[in-house]
Every structure is written in C-alpha cells, then in structure tokens.
C-alpha cells in the first residue's frame, strides 16, 4: 500500500511536469488579464495623467493665492484629526456596548447598521432639511418650546463644518463599530472570567485585556478611515455645498469644485498638495498590512 502510494506520488510531478506547469500558468495569465487591463486603464493611467497635469508650478502659486484653498486644507485637517479620532473612540465604546448579550441590544444593532446600509444621498438631504432655518423640523421644535427662532444652522461655517463631520460620523460609525466588535469578540472569554475572579474593575479589564488585543486593529481602522475620509465628498457637498461663502470646503469638494469650474490643473494641484497627508498614511498602512 505504502509503495503504491509513494510511486504514484512520484509519478504525478515526473511525467506531465511541463504540461502541468505551463498550461495552467498560461491560463492564469489569461484569466488575470481582464483585471490587469482595468487596473492599467482606470487606475494607472488616470493617476499618471493627473500627476502630469499637476506639473506646472503656476498652479501651486494660484492655489497659494486662493484663500479658499487654505481654508479647505485647515477644514480637512480638522475633519481628519478631530472628526475621525472622535468617531473611532465612539466606535470603540459602542463596540463594547453592542457585544452585551441582551435581546434588545441585538435588535438595536440591526437598526444601528441602517445608516451604513442605506444610500447616503437621501439621508444627508433629510438632515439638510431638518436643519433648514425656516421650515426645518429642528427650528420648528425650538420655536414651539421657547417661542424664539432657532439659529441659522448651516449659515455659520463652524457649525456647518461640525454638522458635516456629524453627518460623516452618522454614516460610517456603524461600519467601524462592526469591525471593532469582531475584534472584541475574538478575545477569549476566559480572560475576562479570570479577571473577574481577581476582582478587576471594568477599567482594568479594558486597560489590560481589551485594549492590548484590539490596539492594532484600532490603529489600522483609524488610519484607513482617515484615508477614506479624505475622499468623503458627499457629507460636505450635499450638506453645506462648501458654503457659506466657500468656508466649509474640504480638499475633496474643492478638487471637484475646480473641476466643475474647468480648472483641471488647479484641481489636480490641490490633490497633489494633499499628498503629504496621504503618503505617510499609505506608508503606515502598507507596513501594517504586509506584516
């Protein structure tokens, strides 16, 4: 029995070696080709072409002289540094809430996913109407309760940007909470049981069990979320439209604004200016993923 097995083991790679290696590999290349073509035509070419369009120093001078650009860069930083960290902290907190074993929490988690499952356009427009100074529900309620007119929400750049960040959080919080939940659920339960026997407080359990286990995941999520948020066009564009007076633009809406004004080289230059943000994030992500 053993002999027949070993002979057959040798027999397979020996005789049809050239056939078995080459034919599948040719097929492999053929089957890989469609994606390679898509990648070349719609990722490599646009990126290269875009960088080529952004080559004129004059575009950067024009950007530098455009006050909207400076404002957009600051807004983007606020959006990323404050907005994303705030979002990820809430996601970390809520992931701990949603792994509690209660049937009502199970039901709540099903509803909680909704913002992420439904398209963002109708819900963003719904929020925009809700905060309309004259007809919106929020100011109507304020008027009924206090007898005074509510504030003109989207007309104040700080409030409007905060609301755009809020909109972004509303939309993407469920996704990150879900990811962090899977991270928390992967922690062996007996660790917590042992800690409970030793009389650990919830903070100690978090500090010495949960955090060390989810730390890598949490940092990876934060970095990824920052990269993706740089490309978040909808939350700002549909809620504030960059207004009032173009004070709430972020780099993504600004790029599209230049594009709509037919100033393509400015659009690309503004994106190239974001590279100092993006490249370190990419570098850390690559390092994390390749480990």
């Amino acid at each position: 029995m053993a002999i027949t097995l070993s002979t057959s083991d040798h027999a397979i790679p020996a005789t049809p070696l050239s056939e078995r290696l080459s034919t599948p590999q040719i097929w492999g290349i053929v089957l890989l080709a469609p994606y390679a073509l898509v990648f070349l035509a719609f990722v490599v070419y646009p990126v290269g072409y875009g960088l080529w369009l952004a080559r004129h120093p004059a575009s950067y001078v024009a950007l530098y002289n455009d006050p909207i650009f400076a404002r957009a860069a600051i807004n983007t930083l606020v959006f990323l540094v404050i907005g994303i960290n705030f979002k990820m902290l809430i996601a970390l907190f809520l992931s701990g809430f949603f792994i509690q074993e209660r049937s009502w929490i199970k039901w709540l988690s099903v509803l909680f996913i909704l913002p992420w499952a439904v398209p963002s356009i109708p819900t963003i427009l719904s929020v925009r109407f809700m905060f309309n100074p004259e007809w919106g529900m929020v100011n109507q309620v304020i008027f009924k309760l206090t007898g005074e007119d509510g504030p003109n929400w989207l007309n104040d750049p700080t409030v409007a940007l905060t609301m755009a960040i809020g909109m972004h959080i509303w939309k993407s919080l469920p996704f990150w909470t879900l990811i962090l939940m899977t991270g928390r659920l992967a922690i062996p339960g007996d660790l917590f049981e042992a800690a409970a026997v030793d009389g650990a407080t919830w903070w100690q359990k978090f500090r010495f069990i949960t955090w060390p286990s989810v730390r890598t995941l949490y940092l990876t999520c934060t970095l990824l979320s920052m990269i993706w948020t740089l490309g978040d066009f909808n939350s700002v564009y549909l809620l504030t439209g960059g207004g009032p007076a173009d004070l709430t633009h972020v780099l993504s809406t600004l790029g599209i604004r230049y594009l709509r004004l037919d100033q393509l080289s400015l659009a690309m230059a503004s994106i190239v200016c974001a590279l100092p943000f993006v490249v370190p994030l990419m570098y850390f992500m690559m390092k994390r993923l390749s480990r």
Partner: protein, 288 residues
C-alpha cells in the same frame, strides 16, 4: 444574611440595565432620526410636511402616487432614472464578479507568477481617496470618449469594486483544499473545467456576497455618477435627487419620497444577504 445577598445583585442588575439603556436610547434616536424624518416627509401631505409635527395629522400615500406616475416637473424621468440605476448596478455586479472571480482563481489556485504583486497593487487603489481619483478619472473618461455614456460609470465602479472583491475571493479560495484541484486534474480535468465545475460551485456563498456588495456600491454611488453622466435621461437616481437641490422651490416631500423609494432596495438587499456580508467583513477584520 441571605436576603441582602439576594437583593444586591438584582439592584446591580437594574443599574447595569439602566446604564445600558442610557447608551441605547440616544444611539437609537441618533440612528433613526434622519431616516424617520425622511419617512415622515414621504407620508405627509404638502401642508403637513412643514408643520414640525412628529406624526402627520393625515398620513397619506399621495406622494408615492405622484412619484410613480411622474406627475411633477422634477420627476418626469423618474422611471428611466430608476432603470438607469438598476442597469448600471446589475452590470457592475456581474462584471465585477466575472473579473474578480477569474483573477482570484488565477492568483490563488493557479499560483500565477506575480499574483501576490497584482493583489497588493489592486489594494493600493483603496489608498487613493475616492474623490481624488474622481478628478483624473473624469478626464480619462473624456479621453476615452466615454463621458455621458453608461459605460463610463460602469467601468469606474468596477475599478473601485474589484480590489475588495478580489481580496475577499482570494481569502475564501485559499481555504479550499489543494487536494481538490489535484484530484480533478488526476481525473483529466482541464483548467477551464476545474474553474467551471469545481471552483465556481464551491465558491458560491462568497460569490453571492461579492455580487451583492458590488451591486450595492454602484447603486449607492453619487460622486462618480454626478461627474460622469449629465443628461436628464442618462443620470441615475442619486444624481436626480441631488439636482432637486438646484432649485429654490424644490418639493421636499417629493424629494424625500423619491429618496425613500431609492433607499429601500439596498436596505432590503443588505438585510437579505446580511449573513454573507458580515462574514466577508469579519474575514477582513481578522486579517488586519
């Protein structure tokens, strides 16, 4: 001695429950308010919509009637836009599935040289923020002569959906035992037969998830659709919704009704395939 020890945990239970509710209720309100507001507008007659009531005095389906029969200037192309959205979403789903399956098969099962490299390059697409890629993509589509053509949006969405699709499918197919392929080849199966008769049937659950994912991604997309398509009879529903905003006299209740109709299919599909979708996500989370 026994009574207080019986009572104490129940008191603690009550306080834990109360604290959980203290988190749960705000989460519920925060999550549901924009969606409920949209629903409220959809079932309110025009006069009621702006009254600030939490429930309309006379809930009605009249708005849906207006939308379905295209009885408003803004809605005159509703059905054709709905159809555009559907065609584009389905095409993206099918094309992504085709491309990603062959690619994953090639990398994971045929071990094509340089496959890992292609995989990493593909994932690199996600490190380019979407709105940043959109600018040169718009110009590229112009160069290819595809602007204002549905193919431009379909191809752009396939580009964006594929890397994740390939990655998930590769993870899933790495788990299939190698002996399966070897046995099939022993029986004289060609590579294509291996793909069609062994690989595809075994990968079915992942394929369903990925097809759904790509379909939803395309259905929900706003930015690319807004840039690449412009004619009223070419655009998809989200772009039409965005165009409502251009006018000062936008009929909000109709906009919200249309938005509600537009949001229903993806929500329904998501919940129908939730099991698969969450499985794919979990695989991703554990890897990182």
């Amino acid at each position: 001695m026994k009574l207080p020890s019986m009572k104490l945990p129940s008191l603690r239970e009550v306080s834990t429950e109360a604290r959980l509710l203290l988190i749960g209720i705000p989460v519920f309100i925060w999550t549901m308010l924009p969606i409920y507001h949209m629903f409220l507008f959809a079932i309110s007659p025009k006069e009621d919509a702006f009254s600030g009531k939490l429930w309309p005095a006379n809930p009605t389906l009249h708005n849906f009637h207006i939308v379905f029969y295209q009885q408003h200037y803004f809605l005159r192309d509703f059905w054709i836009q709905f159809w555009n959205s559907t065609v584009i979403a389905v095409s993206v789903g099918v094309l992504t599935l085709l491309i990603a399956t062959t690619t994953a098969f090639s990398i994971s099962r045929l071990k094509v040289p340089g496959g890992r490299w292609v995989m990493n390059l593909a994932l690199f697409t996600y490190f380019i923020p979407a709105a940043f890629l959109a600018v040169p993509m718009y110009r590229t589509m112009g160069n290819y002569g595809l602007l204002n053509n549905h193919w431009s949006l379909i191809l752009a969405m396939v580009t964006i959906a594929s890397p994740y699709a390939i990655w998930v499918l590769k993870q899933a197919s790495d788990k299939l035992p190698v002996e399966l392929d070897e046995a099939a080849i022993m029986d004289g199966a060609t590579t294509l037969q291996l793909f069609r008769l062994v690989y595809i049937p075994l990968m079915m659950p992942s394929l369903v998830a990925i097809g759904t994912y790509a379909l939803l991604l395309a259905w929900n997309e706003y930015l690319y659709a807004f840039l690449l398509l412009s004619k009223d009879t070419d655009i998809t529903l989200p772009v039409a919704l965005g165009n409502f905003l251009a006018a000062d006299d936008s009929p909000w209740e109709l906009l919200m009704t249309t938005g509600f109709i537009y949001a229903l299919p993806p929500a329904a599909i998501y919940y129908a395939f939730k099991r698969y979708m969450v499985g794919g996500l979990t695989a991703g989370a554990v890897k990182s």
